[in-house]
Amino acid sequence: MSSESKDEVKATGAFPVADRLIFLIYLVLITIPLLFPLGLPIAIAPATNESYFAIEGLAEGSVVLFEQDNSFGTWAELAPPDIAMTRHLFKMMEENKIRLIFYSGSVQGNQLSQRVIKDYVGRPYPFNNDPDYGKYWVHLGWIPGGEPILAGMVSNMVNIAPIDLYNIPTESMEIFQYISSKALPNDIITGDDINLFLVTHCTSPDSWARQWGGYGDPQRGFEHGNMIHIFSAGSVPYAMPFIGKGQMRSYLGGQRAGAEYELLINKPGLGAAYMDAQDFAHLFGIVLIVGSNIFYLYEKQKVTKK
């Protein structure tokens, strides 16, 4: 930056006064409900209900593949639904003996996936100290490679993940032996052996829709697309074509979906805590749009009269 423009910034300030006032009001509006929760009502969206019942309806011995690709930047938005769903899955594991396979396609996702299971679900850490580890659930760690890995996971899972997070060969693990014993026509674990696909990510869902969208759960009448995504609320429009065609079953869109899911599993947490602030932030946005338009039309009318 040249010295001339530096002086200009010093003279005028980085932002106009109106912008600074907007930032200040916004900060106050989201801080107050965080410090003094109001308990405003939360409506449960149909997509959240569908996601909840997709897990609640898992039959005994079902296999769930969960790719957790959260990131530090999107932790605030994706952690509530991710934590709530992971808690629900472990509860189903204990009740219905469903099998859970976790992994991540990103470095940050791997760290955060372990944080969710260790700090929020409360499984023993290191995970191989958990008596259920290796028998009912496993964490495969970070598997880099992008979309080819998604294709590989549903064509030959053990080939893509020969070892788990703790370098234990997956073929020797009870959970993989259970799944491959059910795998037909041979012992290779493919997408047909997975009853439900879950993904947490902060991008567009099309990679997963392409690679996993053709696998369903014939046990429960789903011919294809038994896949639930957890992503930010802004990604919901990108998912709608896949939901419409059945390549994706449902989704949890951001903090609000997380809060709804927490209410459904009766464990209010981070999501529910943020909802009052989100209400205020949205209302403030609406007030800004309406207010600025009223002001604009009034100014326009004044000019027209002159």
Binding site: D19, I22, Y26, P41, D206, M240, L283, I289
Partner: protein
């Protein structure tokens, strides 16, 4: 020119692998070979992280050594990276503490920073200058009511309207974009096969 720098080698490699993957996808022939490629991708992908680390180190060390403008930022970046890297091997609990209490809030703050500008945009840019702009603003307001937790709780109509906007006009537009993207990808693939697309080789 060195044999390894010839353009034809990476193009031939790309053609060979992509042809095998395509044939396997449509016919099922060569699935074990494709499985080997998928395993190999894990190794290649991991190597890119090593290359990235080397490039970052070289770039920042260069700036620090030559005292280029902003060299102290490079020192902070490089120093933090080294400390965080070493902590991961030496003390896992401190590594997790830094990750949870420093890295996560900082990255969250950087991402949330964008949201602040949206509010100034709503104040300055969201003006009903034409019929199209008016429709857009009306949809924006309805979607804001749909997305907030209180909206559908106060009036269920917001849920109905929001779902319709997402499922009908939005889905149509997104499908068109996806089809365009798919056709574009096909075109890029054919161009790469023919050697016309060389951007992935670092050439224009």
């Amino acid at each position: 020119m060195s044999f390894l720098k010839k353009t034809e080698i990476p193009i031939a490699l790309y053609l060979f692998i992509s042809a095998i993957v395509l044939v396997e996808h449509f016919t099922g022939i060569g699935s074990s070979l494709v499985d080997s490629f998928n395993s190999g991708i894990i190794i290649v992908w991991t190597l890119t992280y090593l290359i990235g680390t080397y490039t970052l180190t070289r770039h920042n060390l260069n700036i620090i050594q030559r005292r280029r403008p902003g060299w102290y930022y490079s020192l902070i970046l490089f120093g933090s990276a080294i400390i965080f890297f070493v902590l991961g091997f030496v003390d896992n609990s401190k590594y997790l503490w830094v990750q949870t209490n420093v890295l996560t809030p900082l990255e969250g703050a950087m991402l949330s920073y964008v949201g602040m500008y949206m509010y100034t945009c709503m104040f300055r840019g969201a003006r009903t200058r034409s019929l199209d702009a008016g429709v857009l603003l009306l949809v924006t307001i309805l979607m804001l009511f749909y997305m907030m937790p209180l909206g559908p709780a106060v009036w269920p109509g917001f849920e109905t309207i929001g779902n319709w906007i997402n499922s009908v006009p939005n889905t149509g537009a997104q499908r068109a974009i996806l089809i365009g993207m798919g056709l574009g990808l096909l075109a890029v693939m054919v161009r790469t096969w023919l050697g016309l697309e060389k951007s992935f080789l670092g050439r224009s």
